[in-house]
């Protein structure tokens, strides 16, 4: 079983974002802070014919978004492994235990972007993720929207959805591999607010 990931990014080509550019109260690049209470790092993996799902809190997120030059955007996120939760108690315990995430010795998972590119209607965020002290490259797909209740062109509050997958065995998190799938699918919904 296993773990999740990080967050964020951007994409200037996203429809709503481009709306914003017109108004441009936005000198790029802009720093954003995470709204943790309304952000979710979700994960899913296979458990026999069933699924294990869960969530992991974000302990820190540093975001710099540049809507005019997407490649200048940067994301750094840290997750709190010790407070991760899963769809049933054994899964959470196993996930945080020494055979998988080993939260006692490795209480955090971190992700730092190395490049952000426009792709289709969203963006592709490449970066390096560190789990159990092992750092590997990772690519996630990102989409961004203006948050509900904010007018077109207002980029002060955004919602970003990141999706991707990793193999836990790449990080030495091989516990219960006879029962639980290797691939961990991530679905991250991050709500962010522009820093003043």
């Amino acid at each position: 079983m296993r773990i999740p990931l990080l967050v964020l990014v951007l994409n200037a080509s996203v429809a709503l974002a481009s709306l914003a550019l017109a108004n441009c109260a936005l000198a790029s690049p802009a720093n954003y802070t995470l709204q943790p209470a309304s952000s979710v790092v979700g994960f899913e993996t296979d458990f026999g014919s069933d699924k294990i799902t869960g969530q992991m809190p974000i302990s820190r997120a540093d975001l710099t978004l540049d809507f005019q030059n997407v490649s200048a955007s940067r994301v750094a996120v840290t997750l709190d492994v010790a407070h991760a939760d899963a769809s049933f108690p054994f899964a959470a315990q196993a996930m945080k235990g020494p055979k998988v995430l080993d939260s006692r010795d490795f209480p955090q998972i971190s992700f730092e972007s190395t490049s952000v590119k426009s792709k289709g209607e969203g963006a592709e965020v490449s970066g390096r993720v560190t789990i159990r002290g092992v750092t590997k490259p990772m690519v996630m797909q990102a989409m961004i929207w203006r948050q509900k209740g904010h007018e077109a062109g207002d980029l002060s509050h955004l919602t970003i959805r990141l999706t991707g997958a990793l193999n836990r065995s790449d990080f030495g998190a091989v516990g219960w591999s006879d029962m639980v799938g290797d691939q961990v699918r991530l679905d991250i919904l991050a709500r962010i607010a522009r820093s003043e």
Binding site: F47, G48, S49, D50, P89, Q93, A94, G97, K99, M179
Partner: protein, 179 residues
């Protein structure tokens, strides 16, 4: 009625014997099933049941040993064939040892996984082994081997009991009806 006498098993010993027999047979079937199925959400409860029944068996084995100190079991009726007596005696001793060792090895191995050992769906037993893959693998290996030894000894025990029953020497009747 409850206590053993010099020639008869009391109701306490007989209840302990047969309730443990039912528990052990259930555990053997359940354990065999668990080793052959793919774990999933719909089968997780079976693992909990196995642990619950295992701990009950361990507790009853201890109760039985204590009870036999309080109210000693009657002496064996014996067989005219000496080696059969020795086999019966050794089998009984081994069965008692296994009734303690198998649940303990399961508890040790489960503790070593780092997961809570939960019985009755809510009671968390204290871990009795360090969280360690070596302890886990060794514990489960011993659990499996001892279980196979138990199956062989139970077959021997049942065969001996049936044989005595067919001969009508009273051994089987003592533990069924207390006569």
């Amino acid at each position: 009625m409850w206590r053993n006498t010099a020639t008869r098993f009391g109701l306490t010993s007989r209840l302990l014997h047969w309730s443990m027999a039912a528990l052990i047979l259930t555990l053997l079937v359940l354990g065999t099933v668990l080793t052959s199925i793919q774990p999933g959400l719909s089968t997780l409860w079976l693992y909990g049941q196995h642990k619950t029944l295992g701990i009950i068996t361990l507790s009853l084995a201890l109760v039985r040993l204590i009870w036999h100190r309080i109210s000693p079991a009657p002496a064996s009726l014996g067989s005219p064939v000496a080696w059969q007596n020795r086999v019966a005696r050794a089998t009984h001793l081994a069965l008692y040892a296994l009734m303690l060792a198998i649940p303990l090895s399961g508890w040790i191995a489960s503790s070593a996984t780092g997961l809570d050992v939960v019985i009755f769906g809510q009671i968390i037993l204290p871990p009795i082994a360090p969280v360690s893959e070596a302890w886990e693998n060794t514990g489960f290996a011993i659990h499996g081997i001892l279980t196979k030894v138990l199956m062989a000894l139970l077959a021997l025990h049942i065969a001996g009991a049936v044989l005595r029953g067919l001969k009508g020497d009273g051994t089987l009747r003592r533990i069924t009806k207390g006569l």
